[in-house]
């Protein structure tokens, strides 16, 4: 039984970790700006494309990885400055529409640059090696992902709880206007949020594309959406919530893909039911259920909107 479930669990933990890194970006931006940054999945995709082109230009790997992370953070920063900052006092809906606009702009820009063809992601040595874990063979990145995610989240939580900028972030997320009155430079706090979120999306893209090896302009759409569901599932605005939500979504999604086999092997069914087809439908059905039953998610704070 364990041998049957284990490979799916492994895939789930790995992809869950990658969703987690994207989900943090959604949840942090929401926490501070009350904005769902729909362009975030595309920032993730851009990070992948940037890596493809940097590697193709012959830059050595030890340099290209930090370069990709810096460029991704810069992209996040620029998006905020160009598309969201001018709309700071506009209704929230305008910013949301602007986010959707940025998302399509990035996709079409990449479509133009790549010509719409799948780009082969460069192989990162060491993490691309195949290892044997019990009954499953997988890339080392599968094991590295959850560990790296935990380290990064621990670092992020420390940053938010122990540093000055972290304190500013917490203050801004509690009350936008008052923290401004208290002398917090709101624009630099927001920029920092976008830089951190994009940086993590960049790390996520390194891990994700090492596993799934090709990048196309729509590569960010699905992981982005699922990370968003994960953020809502965990309680949007909460970082630990987003991480746990992402792992749960990743694991459940892969278990569903393998549910037929698991049931088949354990003798519950004699003929496959074709449940794998519904793996994506399941994720989005979960979103609806969460929104109906517990809109604040697993770890979300109860809304205390003062009028």
């Amino acid at each position: 039984m364990w041998d049957t479930v284990f490979p799916y669990l492994l895939s789930g933990i790995s992809v869950g970790g990658q969703y987690a890194l994207i989900a943090i970006g959604y949840t942090m931006v929401y926490g501070i700006l009350r904005l769902i940054n729909f362009a975030h999945g595309d920032v993730f995709m851009v990070a992948g494309i940037v890596m493809v082109y940097i590697a193709a230009s012959g830059v050595p790997l030890w340099l290209s990885i930090p370069l990709v992370l810096i460029i991704t953070a810069l992209v996040g920063f620029l998006i905020e400055r160009v598309a969201y900052k001018p709309l700071r006092s506009a209704p929230r809906m305008s910013v949301m529409i602007s986010a959707i606009g940025v998302s399509y702009t990035l996709q079409n820009l990449v479509l133009y640059v790549t010509g719409g063809l799948n780009k082969q992601y460069p192989t990162i040595p060491w993490v691309s090696e195949t290892i044997v874990l019990g009954a499953a063979k997988t890339k080392l990145v599968t094991v590295v992902t959850p560990i790296l995610v935990i380290i990064l989240v621990a670092a992020l939580v420390t940053l938010i709880n122990k540093t000055k900028i972290g304190m500013a972030m917490r203050a801004v997320s509690k009350d936008f206007e008052t923290s401004q009155l208290m002398g917090i430079k709101i624009n630099s706090v927001i920029s920092a949020t976008f830089v951190i979120g994009s940086f993590l999306a960049g790390v996520g893209s390194l891990l994700y594309f090492t596993n799934y090896s090709t990048v196309i302009q729509t590569s960010g759409a699905m992981p982005g959406l699922k990370a968003f569901v994960a953020a809502v599932f965990g309680g949007i605005g909460s970082i630990p919530g987003a991480v746990i939500g992402a792992f749960l979504i990743g694991i459940m999604e892969n278990i569903i893909k393998g549910l037929d086999v698991i049931l088949f092997k354990s003798g519950v069914i004699t003929k496959p039911l074709g449940l794998a087809t519904f793996s994506d439908a399941f994720t989005f059905a979960l979103l609806i259920i969460i929104l109906v039953v517990k809109p604040t998610g697993l770890f979300g704070e109860a809304a205390t909107d003062k009028v």
Binding site: N118, T138, S213, T214, M222
Partner: protein, 385 residues
């Protein structure tokens, strides 16, 4: 000043008219192919065959007048929702005949727009029977999925001796689903058993599907999916140490797929239309042209391997020229009337249409990938009686 400007603008608008005035008349052939999306790589290679044929034979004599052949590309984006606008673009450009598309779904999605405008279409590699079924404007130069499925099922069952096949297709993709359905029919008739699963569009994580196949104890992993998915499947299979052979249809016949399997232990077997080396003259000419044009080389995946789809594009172009000549007029309705009786000796063999508008084909090539060099190698030519 404003009047002056207006005058200049008007002259500028008229310039193309003057430029064309002393040129030879133009006949337009639409290239209805995906240049982006999941099938973008395949569509580009198919279009390359058409473009190369256009370079080799840039003019055609129709009814005693020499016409310049102009290719009008329309990107159907590999998706059924973008296909109608691409088809409409070709209709509004007044093409005499259209070629394409790579992918049966988009061919079917655009079909009605061509039918309404009375424009004939020559399908190059869209193998689903529904493309030409029940209409008189869609023709095709390739074999059909029921034929291909029979070849595959026979090969898998008799030559490879497999008993259980795991099939994986993209949800809502007519090509994948059609081929898998025909294959299931044939393979079960031969005494084998089939397990089928689907994945949603834009899936990147195939690890669980591969695990499923291994867990079921399948002998063959059949995934007649587009190039974008198949390269990912192959690479993830390599990472998992997947020991089951991967079987595919004509869509996998691309150097991009061969490159993906290079340096791995994954065995890949496919059926296709053409094997490089079958026609030396075409191969060398096509390669020389690819190497002389950097954009063409990029569109071919960066190297000069000949893909079967390019050959079909090349043959389709000559089929279109033959139809134009037979019609004696660039009028699309006349071309449509002339097409059923047109026949040529193409690079991929003799091509003539049956009463449905399908090419009469009796054989398919079976190929496999050499994992060391990343090239396709010929296995056998399979005929079905």
């Amino acid at each position: 000043m404003k009047k002056m400007l207006a005058l200049i603008m008007i002259l500028a608008l008229m310039a193309p008219v003057f430029a064309l005035a002393d040129d030879m008349p133009v006949v337009k052939i639409g290239v209805y192919e995906p240049a982006s999306g999941d099938s973008g790589a395949g569509g580009k290679q198919e279009a390359l065959g058409v473009q190369y044929a256009n370079v080799v034979t840039p003019t055609v004599v129709i009814g005693g007048v020499e016409y310049k052949v102009e290719l009008v590309p329309a990107d159907n984006g590999s998706s059924t929702d973008k296909a109608p606008s691409a088809a409409q673009k070709l209709v509004s450009e007044n093409v005499s005949v259209a070629l394409g598309s790579y992918g049966s779904s988009v061919s079917i999605a655009g079909s009605q727009y061509f039918a309404d405008a009375k424009i004939p279409v020559i399908g190059l590699t869209c193998t689903n029977p529904q493309v030409t079924a029940g209409n008189s404007h869609y023709f095709r130069v390739c074999f059909l999925d029921d034929f291909q499925a029979t070849v595959l099922a026979n090969y898998v069952s008799k030559t490879l001796g497999a008993n259980m096949v795991y099939c994986l297709g993209e949800l809502g993709n007519d090509y994948d689903q059609g081929l898998i359905a025909f294959f299931t029919q044939q393979f079960e008739a031969l005494g084998g058993s089939v397990i089928k699963e689907d994945f949603p569009t834009n899936t990147a994580d195939f690890t669980s599907y591969l695990t499923n196949a291994a867990m079921y104890g399948a002998d063959i992993f059949f995934c007649p999916v587009s190039i974008a998915y198949s390269t990912q499947i192959i690479q993830q299979a390599a990472a998992q140490g997947f020991e089951i052979s991967i079987l595919g249809g004509d869509t996998l016949d691309s150097n991009v797929v061969a490159e993906a399997a290079k340096g791995t232990n994954v065995s890949v077997v496919i059926t296709t239309f053409y094997q490089e080396g079958a026609n030396e003259e075409f191969d060398s000419g096509f390669k020389a042209w690819l190497n002389s044009d950097s954009e063409a080389l990029t569109n071919n995946g960066g190297n000069d391997m000949v893909s079967a789809v390019s050959v079909m594009g090349y043959d389709g172009y000559y089929m279109a020229l033959a139809a134009l000549q037979a019609a004696g007029s660039p009028d699309s309705a006349a071309v449509m009337a002339a097409l059923p009786s047109v026949a040529i000796d193409g690079v991929s063999g003799h091509i003539a249409f049956d009463e449905k508008g399908d090419a009469i084909r009796t054989s398919a090539f079976v190929k496999t990938i050499n994992n060391e060099t990343g090239e396709w190698i010929f296995v056998t030519e399979q005929t079905v009686e």
